[in-house]
């Protein structure tokens, strides 16, 4: 639907503003157009069936989903602590949670190596005790992706918890419900939209992760070579496959926007 009043108000905006806005739109759209223009549409079906594409896509979907599950598992409780508890160090904890969003991913990957690597702070004793080794495995990709994606779940769910408030939790308490029942039947159902938003954002972030993943888990074909890594590699050797892989990621990203359209794509 058009909104006449808003359109009229917009048309009165000064011309330079319009011009710069158009530049902004071009800046966002041009790379996508270039990608589409270079795409090998004729042989697309064959390219999509190439093992390098299917293998990277499969690995990306599996590790991004695994990372999202991991993020939900620890992120929702963490969000609850941030929103509901009154611990003394909460501002510090919130800064720590936000850190992966601003930290260069490659630094995150290096830090993960020192923590969970073969000779890492926790990874060393863990390897000695169980033989488990995270780096250069698909699990390593999951861990690296979860590290960079966790803030999206925590911040989204924390905001959701603050928005719904404690009114209904109080009502449930006066009815005799203990903390667990309140959480299960009152609090969590109320924040389902925030959890879903956080999960979708975290999944999209994990899907595109490059730096932390390549630093911590390496670039092993079939084990840790996800879509972004495969794209970079194919691009280095100048093959069309890089464009096909990129198009696949663009398509997946657009699909991710669909469940979020109520929030971000009104109308």
């Amino acid at each position: 639907m058009s909104r006449p009043s808003r359109a009229r108000a917009g048309s009165h905006a000064p011309l330079p503003l319009w011009a710069l806005a158009v530049v902004g739109v071009c800046f966002l759209a041009l790379p996508l157009v270039a990608l589409l223009q270079r795409a090998p549409w004729r042989g697309l079906g064959d390219h999509l069936r190439e093992p390098v594409v299917t293998e990277a896509l499969r690995l990306s979907l599996v590790t991004a989903t695994g990372a999202t599950v991991l993020c939900l598992l620890v992120g929702v409780p963490l969000a609850w602590v941030l929103a509901r508890s009154s611990l003394p160090g909460l501002p510090l904890l919130r800064a720590l949670v936000t850190l992966p969003m601003v930290l260069p991913p490659v630094v995150g990957g290096a830090a993960l190596l020192y923590a969970l690597g073969r000779r890492g702070l926790v990874g060393g004793p863990l390897h000695d005790a169980t033989g488990l080794l995270l780096p250069y495995s698909a699990w390593g990709v999951v861990v690296a992706n979860a590290f960079v994606a966790l803030p999206f779940v925590v911040l989204s769910v924390e905001a959701g918890l603050r928005t719904v408030g404690t009114d209904h939790e109080e009502a449930a308490a006066t009815l005799g419900a203990d903390g667990w029942l309140v959480l299960r039947r009152v609090t969590l159902p109320a924040v389902v939209p925030s959890v879903a938003t956080g999960a979708v954002l975290a999944w999209a972030r994990a899907l595109g992760e490059f730096g932390a993943s390549v630093t911590f888990a390496g670039n092993l074909e079939g084990r840790t070579r996800t879509m972004p890594l495969a794209i970079y590699l194919e691009l280095q050797s100048g093959r069309e496959t890089a464009i096909v892989l990129s198009l696949v990621l663009v398509a997946v990203s657009l699909l991710v926007l669909v469940p979020l359209r109520d929030r971000w794509l009104p109308g």
Binding site: E170, A172, A173, L175, A177, R185, A190
Partner: protein, 359 residues
């Protein structure tokens, strides 16, 4: 009531919220409805929250049926779950994701009843409150009155000993409040615990409560039987609050009722809604005359001036006689009519100024 009866609620609520220091003593006996009234920001809701266990005490105590549930000096603070206190919040707080049936069943399940059992019990409650057909409705589909009834059913279903009602009628317009009061009386008919009713509407207190506690600035400024507080308001707020005269009456015919105690007959403009009624009229609506007035007023009687009190703006004149009411007049009228205790005076109330509410 025996002298040894243990009150359901025996509390001294002492805590500070923001700039307000609350220190209020409340007591409610089994079967009693206590009205907690006061201006906005007096601490009424804070007192309720402390009794329910949603806020901690700084000092004082809360005893329910004689058992201590809060006593900071002894380090006791039972959580809300461990107190048999039902709360109907001002904003009702029905669980939006659950239908009416599951809202009522929630507390029963929390207290260990099976899902099927709790739902069956919830449906009985809804039927009792005339909402049997609304069991599947979500809170956002319920009308204000329906949501209020579901919230009350939810609170009563877990069989509390004390029921706290925070401004139960605040969302309703004047017309609907009278019906809602009558409905509440019916809904509470089987409840043998005590009720604390927070309200800012004097009629709520006058119609529903046996006793009134007036809270101002966190302190109790007056407490007593409803009729007592109405007869002798001690603060300016209390006088404003009960600037309404309250008479208990019995129907004679469609438009006439006999005042309890004296048998004086009063005529009302609207048909009486029930056999037993509370007749109310504003103190300003009681007119005083030196001679018997001629003309329109339907209710005219000879009275004797009881107490006269007030300030330079207005004076409250207590009338003894067949219709015990208070008139509010100007200081000029006091001088003109020679209103001093013991003086004879004629009083009149127009039929249209008398409102009747079912008891």
């Amino acid at each position: 009531m025996s002298a040894a009866a243990v009150p359901v609620l025996d509390a001294r609520v002492g805590l500070t919220v923001g700039a307000l220091a609350v220190d209020a003593t409340l007591r409610a006996d089994p079967g009693e409805v206590l009205a907690l009234v006061g201006p906005n920001g007096a601490g009424k809701t804070t007192v309720l929250r402390a009794i329910a266990g949603l806020a901690g005490l700084a000092h004082g105590h809360v005893r329910l049926d004689g058992a201590v549930v809060a006593d900071p000096a002894a380090g006791v603070h039972a959580p809300p779950q461990a107190r048999r206190v039902g709360v109907v919040f001002q904003d009702r707080r029905l669980f939006p994701a659950l239908d009416a049936r599951d809202n009522v069943a929630f507390g029963l399940q929390a207290r260990g009843r099976s899902r099927a059992d709790a739902r069956a019990e919830a449906e009985r409650w809804l039927s009792r409150f005339g909402l049997g057909a609304r069991a599947d409705a979500r809170p956002h589909e319920l009308s204000g009155g329906e949501a209020q009834a579901v919230a009350l059913a939810r609170a009563l279903a877990v069989e509390p000993r004390l029921l706290l009602l925070d401004e139960p009628f605040s969302a309703l317009d004047v017309q609907r409040r009278s019906e809602a009061r009558a409905a509440l009386l019916a809904q509470l008919a089987d409840f043998d615990g005590a009720v604390v009713l927070v309200t800012h509407d004097p009629l709520d207190a006058l119609v529903l409560a046996e006793r009134i506690v007036i809270l101002e600035g966190g302190r109790v400024t007056q407490e007593g039987a409803t009729v007592e507080v109405v007869a002798r308001p001690r603060s300016r707020y209390a006088a404003d609050l009960v600037g309404v005269n309250l008479l208990v009456g019995a129907r004679i015919d469609a438009h006439r009722a006999a005042v309890e105690g004296t048998g004086a007959v009063l005529t009302v403009a609207e048909p009486l809604p029930a056999d037993d009624v509370v007749l109310t009229c504003r103190a300003q609506a009681v007119a005083l005359f030196a001679e018997r007035p001629v003309g329109s007023p339907r209710n005219v009687w000879a009275a004797t001036v009881g107490a006269v009190e007030g300030d330079r703006d207005r004076v409250r004149v207590r009338l003894d006689g067949p219709v015990p009411v208070t008139a509010e007049v100007t200081p000029a009228a006091v001088a003109e009519l020679g209103l001093r205790p013991g003086a004879p005076v004629w009083a009149a109330i127009k039929a249209a100024e008398l409102a009747a509410t079912p008891r």
